[in-house]
């Protein structure tokens, strides 16, 4: 068991444990904060997979952007002063059954398949340069479309969330 494996298990444990807390915690604030650790753990896994740039993007976009957005959502939709911040659960039994089955099937598939795994040759220093290159050549159309999509999302979010004008 070398250092790579130890680090892997460490991050896997962080990820799964905090993800478990996310979906089970009664208090939504706890969920939101343990989601932070989940994202952090996943970023660690990315680093282990040699995807340094993705890891950084993960931290910046998820932790810096999406998580903050979610926290705002929590704050804006709950009266902080009231006790209502706890959220209820429903259909726990079928959910446990279903997800356990799902996880079982997936793990069975993943472990049962004979993957022709082969380590990819990555640039030694950083993947950022190669990623940028591939992004602006092979994927340039998708890249542009995503830009448009983000714009649409921005406008759409602003339109949906803004205060209703008084009908006059």
């Amino acid at each position: 068991m070398n250092i790579y494996d130890i680090v892997f298990y460490l991050f896997a444990a962080i990820t799964l444990a905090s993800a478990f807390v996310v979906v089970t915690a009664r208090n939504i604030i706890y969920s939101a904060f343990s989601l932070l650790f989940t994202f952090f753990g996943i970023a660690g896994l990315y680093v282990l997979l040699g995807a340094d740039f993705i890891a950084v993007v993960q931290l910046m976009v998820y932790v810096g952007g999406i998580l903050v957005l979610i926290l705002f959502g929590v704050m804006l939709t709950n009266k902080i002063t009231s006790v209502q911040i706890k959220t209820g659960t429903l259909q726990v039994i079928p959910a446990i059954l279903g997800t356990a089955l799902m996880a079982g099937v997936l793990i069975k598939i993943f472990t049962g398949t004979n993957w022709h795994s082969q380590m990819a040759q990555y640039p030694t220093k950083t993947t950022a340069y190669a990623l940028g290159h591939i992004l602006l050549t092979d994927y340039v159309l998708i890249f542009e479309l995503l830009g448009i999509l983000l714009l649409i999302a921005l406008i759409g979010a602003a339109t949906i969330a803004r205060k209703e004008e008084k009908a006059s």
Partner: protein, 103 residues
């Protein structure tokens, strides 16, 4: 113990995926549902990056992961806007109370 390889990452992603599904199904609060959704997207991302690493496809998997992150950001923005709107309309964000579709 087996050397950490592709399968390990895939198993992690499978468990994460199931936890996400569990979150979506069981929680009442719409924001919580969104968090579950984020977990699912992340598990898919782990798969992409892992296959990119072990599948010898070059960096294509990472690029797709990048795109997924962008989509997740857009999705989160729109979804939270919708949640806010729902909150304004129904004065609640509990998804089980919002069943107007039934009628």
């Amino acid at each position: 113990m087996v050397q950490v390889g592709l399968t390990h990452f895939l198993v992690i992603s499978a468990i994460l995926f199931s936890l996400g599904i569990f979150g979506i199904v069981t929680r009442k609060n719409a924001v919580m549902v969104l968090m579950g959704l984020e977990l699912i997207l992340n598990s898919a991302n782990i798969n992409f990056v892992a296959f990119s690493r072990y599948g010898n496809f070059g960096l294509n998997g990472q690029v797709v992961a990048l795109f997924v992150i962008v989509l997740a950001a857009a999705e989160a923005a729109i979804a939270l806007a919708i949640v806010l709107n729902i909150y304004k309309t129904f004065a609640t964000v509990n998804v089980d109370e919002i069943d107007k579709l039934k009628e």
